[in-house]
């Protein structure tokens, strides 16, 4: 029983990582109707920028803010410079452009900062909580993820800009007719996704250590979480992220014989089975197609 509790807590702590990432996956999905393969690498790069600033003596919160702002700008630029030209291209071609971006960011980070793991500071500390089941940073990570979720919810539901962004992603033609500047909305979506990615990266790095390949695995689980929860629902993505974390730990610990070696496969298979019964994810709206 104690093992179960501990594994659930460890799973929730990992799940917070995935939830963070899943949130930014859903964010860009809302803005541009795409999944972004390079999302994890963008977050990794943002985190490295913050790390570099801190290494040069910048105080933590200043570096934190600077990284978010820089990431936002970089996100907008990536949209304007790299994705504008392929906007009319078929979706699969855009996907390849994401793969290209992934490759560029990953390789450059390795060249600039090397592959050794770096410690990334956390303002929350690593004090054990709840009989050492989680520590303060992990608790803070869960808290920040939930806070981001609330803010996003308020933004998309409550502000004109948020509504305009949703309109631009859902139906660009109609949105344009009612005066929404669709191109800039997309760029804004990229910027916001990059900024959320930066926050996610800076929260994840203290746990997993910063290195160029840090996000490859996290992104995989983040996608899984986002898809499980439903891509149209930020809250679903967060719940999905936590669910993947817990599910994976329990599969690894309690399924005898195959568990540990195949735990990733088992977790993914379980997700696929869930999807077969809920084809739009646990909390997603099913899309009615028109003929």
């Amino acid at each position: 029983m104690e093992l179960l509790l501990q594994q659930v807590m460890a799973g929730l702590a990992n799940g917070a990582i995935y939830a963070c990432m899943a949130l930014s996956v859903v964010m860009i999905f809302q803005a541009i109707d795409h999944l972004n393969f390079a999302q994890g690498e963008m977050a990794m790069f943002s985190t490295f920028i913050a790390w570099q600033l801190i290494a040069w003596g910048t105080p933590y919160w200043l570096a934190f803010a600077a990284s978010i702002v820089l990431s936002f700008v970089a996100g907008v630029l990536i949209d304007r410079v790299l994705f504008r030209p392929v906007q009319k291209a078929p979706i699969l071609s855009q996907l390849v452009a994401f793969i290209a971006l992934f490759s560029i960011l990953n390789s450059s980070a390795g060249q600039i900062w090397d592959y050794t793991i770096k410690t990334f500071p956390t303002p929350f500390g690593h004090t054990p909580l709840l009989g050492s089941l989680v520590d303060t940073h992990e608790a803070a990570m869960i808290g920040v993820t939930l806070l981001l979720l609330v803010l996003l919810y308020a933004f998309f539901r409550g502000t004109r800009l948020g509504l305009a962004m949703r309109a631009a992603a859902a139906n660009p033609e109609s949105a344009r007719l009612v005066g929404v500047r669709v191109g800039w909305m997309t760029a804004l979506g990229w910027g916001m996704a990059a900024a959320i990615g930066a926050v996610a990266g800076m929260l994840i790095a203290p746990v997993v250590f910063l290195e160029p390949n840090m996000m490859i695995g996290v992104l995989l689980y983040g996608f899984a979480g986002a898809v499980l929860g439903g891509l149209s629902s930020p809250a679903g993505a967060v719940i999905g992220g936590f669910a993947v974390g817990v599910l994976e730990n329990l599969a690894g610990t309690f399924i005898p014989y195959v568990g540990q070696e195949l735990k990733l496969s088992l977790a993914l298979i379980m997700i696929v089975i869930v999807l077969m019964f809920r084809p739009s994810g646990l909390f997603g709206r099913s899309v009615v197609s028109r003929v």
Partner: protein, 407 residues
């Protein structure tokens, strides 16, 4: 034209051996492919991109090392043309570029390709073509096979023998312990695990938890929690630095204090213990064959200073905490010695012969007392390691040099 030269050379080689070997071979001027009076061409592959790119310092530091050798006048007057390609750690790509090195670039030998699957993929080809596959950068056991694969030679102590050494240590210090092994789910992880279990012999049932991770896992927290809950009190941690550091920190977080044995893959002070927190790493036990460049105990050591000067000049922006730079330059230094011993007889046959006759050779970053030795029946140059215990600041070596049991 290319075909003609190659065929001529191929035809000439056996003739040269037949004539040259009975006499003093070192004096004769015999050249294999890729060798002229001015140049020796060597090939290399490594993971500059892809999932294993964190090992790229190994090939990078070899490139830099040969640049240094050339700046110092080359080897016996010949410059080294070191061609290094990216194989992205995918075996089919390794096969392709190694064929390119051998057939198009016409290198004398292929030096220290990195990785077990990648080297396995070219193993057969190299031996069929009779091209030296020198000092492979992997610790699998199979490279020491002079009879079956006379053109392939290993370098580092193999993972299985390291595993056995941990087992010996456990039997001596905690004979009734409950052992948990954390390993990477691939060739090197499973070799460590096998070594530990083989070493425990009849008492292999002491291992009550075998738990693996994938390199894509974000953390190994779950595995550590699991071990503590199951009452493990001897923790054999054979993870790479990132996961080794996570495990050390997590163990401290959950106030778990087993006898903690760290493998040589992840025992760097700078790359593993500092990120994990030095205070948590106290009393860890590990084994070494190379000097840890980040351990303050070596800062006045002549070998370390030499390596450090090399790094400052040739890889100024390289991160000295990365053990890959130490391994790569040491691999290249061993090969340089072989080429020196070859003199003017730079045929592939003689390269293998010289590689199989290293006598008490040492490179600057090998641990004091550890020497590379080979013979025609022994293709495992480095066999010794020494155990050490961490005191919170540095590793303290203890006991004698230990020779691995798997040959």
């Amino acid at each position: 034209m290319k075909h003609l030269t190659r065929r001529t050379i191929l035809a000439a080689v056996p003739a040269a051996i037949a004539l040259g070997v009975p006499f003093v071979s070192a004096r004769a001027k015999d050249y294999g492919p890729g060798v002229t009076d001015k140049e020796i061409k060597l090939g290399n592959t490594g993971p500059y991109s892809g999932p294993a790119s964190s090992y790229s310092p190994v090939p990078k530091s070899q490139v830099a090392y040969w640049k240094m050798i050339n700046d110092q006048g080359g080897i016996n007057g010949r410059m080294i043309n070191f061609i290094s390609y990216d194989d992205a750690y995918t075996p089919p790509k390794t096969v392709e570029i190694v064929r390119k090195l051998v057939e198009e670039d016409q290198v004398l030998l292929v030096a220290s390709p990195l990785g077990t699957p990648t080297n396995s993929a070219i193993w057969h080809y190299m031996n069929e073509k009779k091209v030296p596959q020198m000092f492979v950068a992997t610790g699998a056991t199979k490279w020491d096979d002079p009879k079956g694969h006379p053109w392939t030679i290993g370098w580092q102590p193999n993972y299985q023998s390291e595993g056995r050494i941990y087992a010996t240590y456990i039997l001596k210090n905690k004979p009734d312990g409950k052992v948990g092994v954390l390993y990477q789910n691939d060739d090197f992880g499973k070799d460590y695990l096998k070594g530990v279990k083989d070493g425990l012999g009849d008492k292999a049932s002491m291992v009550i938890v075998e738990t693996s991770y994938e390199t894509t896992d974000p953390t190994v927290d779950s595995q550590v929690v699991d071990m503590k809950a199951k009452g493990v009190d001897v923790f054999v941690n054979t993870a790479i630095p990132k996961f080794a550091a996570q495990a050390i920190r997590k163990a401290a977080d959950i106030q778990w204090k087993p006898l903690h044995i760290l493998s040589s893959i992840g025992n760097s002070v700078g790359a593993t213990l500092k990120p994990a927190g030095l205070e948590y790493a106290k009393d860890l036990v590990s084994d070494f064959y190379l000097k840890d460049a980040t351990d303050p105990k070596w800062k006045d050591d002549a070998g370390f200073k030499e390596w450090s000067a090399f790094m400052d000049k040739y890889i100024p922006d390289g991160d000295k905490t990365d053990a890959g730079y130490v391994a790569g330059s040491s691999l290249a230094a061993t090969l340089a010695q072989v080429l020196k011993q070859c003199g003017d007889d730079l045929t592939r046959e003689n390269v293998m012969k010289q590689a199989a006759s290293l006598k008490d050779f040492t490179v600057p970053m090998l641990l004091p007392g550890i020497k590379a030795n080979t013979s025609p029946t022994d293709f495992a140059p480095i066999k010794q390691v020494q155990m050490a215990k961490f005191d919170g600041q540095r590793w303290n070596l203890f006991g004698d040099l230990i020779t691995g049991a798997v040959g």
